[in-house]
């Protein structure tokens, strides 16, 4: 695998977003869909940087992260997501080229649908230890388990929390009306 086992010095020379996306298309073909967003600003409405939005099936997720790591050590922001009915969709937010100079950073947002029949994702912990809190949070809030995550203790919910309630789920696993106390 190409993933740098040792956290490397971040690369100083960035690739363009098109180069990154064409490599991803080369490896995954139609399995990964990609959208590139220009983020503009300033008086002349110039492009400041780019955000890439990718969606990938669960089985290709680790390969995709390893492909990103061919370019640079992916800086991890957070996992966000939503209960979309039959699946829980997770969005992993990464950065490439964070130290490669002005305007070179590319935000990489990867969405992965996780089927509710098999709510398990491979953990990124051995690759990027910074994912720990986010994976633990996703586990307690959505009930998505992470294969390979060493510490699966609750992170934000209290110790005496009834763990069968997953606060961000919208189905029967989520909080019922009786579990929510209105403050006003």
């Amino acid at each position: 695998m190409s993933f740098p086992k040792k956290p490397v010095d971040n690369v100083r020379s960035a690739k363009t977003p098109e180069e990154v996306l064409s490599r991803i298309r080369e490896v995954f073909g139609d399995a990964v869909s990609a959208e590139l967003r220009e983020r503009k600003g300033g008086k002349e409405d110039r492009v400041g940087f780019y955000d890439a939005w990718l969606s990938v099936p669960k089985e290709e997720f680790l390969n995709l992260v390893d492909t990103l790591a061919e370019f640079d050590f992916p800086q991890f922001h957070v996992i966000s997501g939503n209960d979309d009915g039959d699946v829980v969709t997770l969005y992993y937010h990464f950065t490439l080229f964070q130290v490669a100079g002005r305007g070179k950073r590319i935000g990489v947002n990867v969405s992965v649908p996780v089927d509710k029949k098999d709510l398990v994702m491979p953990s990124l912990f051995s690759r990027i230890p910074g994912v720990e809190y986010s994976e633990r949070e996703t586990r307690e809030m959505f009930g998505v388990d992470f294969d390979g995550l060493p510490n699966k203790a609750l992170v934000f919910l209290p110790e005496n929390w009834n763990e069968s309630i997953k606060p961000w789920r919208r189905d029967e696993a989520g909080p019922s009306a009786g579990d929510v106390r209105e403050l006003s």
């Binding site: 300033g42 400041g48 955000d51 937010h93 964070q98 950073r105 990027i128």
Partner: protein, 411 residues
């Protein structure tokens, strides 16, 4: 053999922005391991947002944090504007940058002052607090408030820069250029302060990258990462911001508490320069994409999409992700990742092999709220005895170490 203790720092006070508990494993005074347990008070803000429309969530996001409230608002709004493709007029972008930098000024000065207080350097703490008042006054002139300014809205800002405000801002910049250097000199030149801050709570370059540390914490480890440079957003597209790293000033990055101090005080100067550029380059024009709030809400109700934004808040990269469903007036889902969420992952590494007396300093060094240490529970592992160490006692322990150093210095 030294007695072994397991010491929890925390849990926390209701009014805090990022509640954290740290369990420290001690051999005598030495910290040999640490486990961090956040979320003693998880308020479920993201869950609450599901019942609110984006305009209402502005005021919710403002209350995530009392210090960097504006950074959270701008970050949330940029995510909404990304999801709904709403443009922000240049003048509004400049005013947002102005308030973001004012906020960074007061946040960094508060931190630097409190760091001095933690080691018992009270005269420097008072000096820092006096300095901070000036920027608080400016924020009050702009918005009428010292915290939670209510300045930004979807597609722009609500308050314009008046002639009175520009004069106040210009006077403030002049004041800081004159008055801030004594504070900097006093702390950096003081041998005791340096002895307390240097080589304490070290986070190496590689650790900082692997654990995705952000903001002054990652920069103090020598990583040249600043979102204002690497991904210039809004008005920052027009300014050449460069990441402040210790090796540019001292030739080498140690990644310790002193370097975190250094990065923040140099960022005060950097923010002053940016504020000057904002005021010089402030474009004319509208400050809102649409003034009629009902039209904005009607547009947002139809909008469909997922948007995200990362901006450089005083403590580092703040990330918000928002999803809007067409036909639903409320925010469908929202994820907030405050900078401390990332930096706290690195705490166990920083604690390792330091003294208990340095624990408050290390916790403080990533700039969470110092009141996180309201009380501590010391457990004697061999007998199971428990004893509550109050914040005052812990602080006294930290100051005692400074006095010891001063004594040695005299001898």
């Amino acid at each position: 053999m030294e007695k072994k203790y397991k010491v929890p720092i925390g849990p926390v006070h209701v009014g805090l922005k990022e509640p954290i508990t740290a369990w420290l494993d001690l051999e005598g005074e030495k910290i040999v391991g640490a486990t961090v347990r956040p979320g003693a008070i998880h308020r479920g803000i993201e869950f609450m947002a599901r019942d609110r429309n984006p305009i209402q969530v502005i005021y919710l996001s403002e209350r995530i944090c009392g210090i960097c409230s504006f950074a959270h608002v701008v970050c949330f709004l940029r995510a909404v504007e990304d999801a709904a493709s709403i443009p922000v007029p240049p003048r509004a972008q400049y005013i947002r940058a102005l308030v973001l930098e004012l906020e960074r000024l007061h946040s960094h000065m508060l931190w630097a002052g409190v760091a001095c207080y933690t080691i018992g350097f009270d005269s420097a703490f008072h000096l820092g607090m006096v300095l901070r008042e000036r920027v608080m006054d400016v924020l009050e002139v702009l918005s009428g408030n010292r915290v939670n300014y209510g300045v930004a809205t979807v597609g722009g800002v609500r308050w314009d820069v008046t002639a009175e405000l520009s004069k106040t801002v210009k006077d403030m910049v002049k004041y800081y250029k004159r008055e801030f250097s004594p504070f900097y000199d006093v702390v950096t030149a003081d041998p005791i302060a340096k002895a307390r801050l240097r080589d304490v709570g070290v986070l190496t370059y590689e650790e900082a990258i692997a654990h995705s540390a952000v903001g002054p914490t990652v920069r103090a480890s020598g990583v040249r990462a600043d979102l204002r440079e690497s991904s210039p957003y809004e008005a920052y597209v027009d300014f050449g911001v460069k990441a402040v790293v210790p090796q540019d000033y001292y030739g080498k990055a140690y990644g310790d508490v002193f370097d975190r101090f250094l990065v923040r005080v140099h960022e005060v100067y950097q923010s002053l320069d940016i504020i000057e550029k904002v005021m010089e380059g402030l474009p004319e024009g509208d400050i809102m994409w649409e003034k009629n709030l009902n039209k904005v809400l009607a547009y947002l109700k139809k909008a469909e999409g997922t948007g995200m934004s990362s901006i450089e808040a005083p403590r580092g990269d703040d990330t918000h992700v928002v999803h809007l469903d067409g036909g639903d007036e409320n925010v469908t889902w929202w994820k907030v990742r405050a900078p401390t969420y990332s930096n706290a992952v690195s705490w166990p590494l920083m604690f390792k092999d330091n003294e208990l007396a340095d624990a408050p300093l290390i916790i403080n060094s990533i700039d969470p709220c110092i009141s996180c240490m309201e009380r501590m529970l010391v457990t004697d592992a061999s007998s199971g005895d428990q004893k509550v160490v109050t914040r005052t006692e812990l602080l006294e322990k930290c100051r005692e170490k400074t006095r010891r150093l001063m004594q040695n210095d005299r001898n």
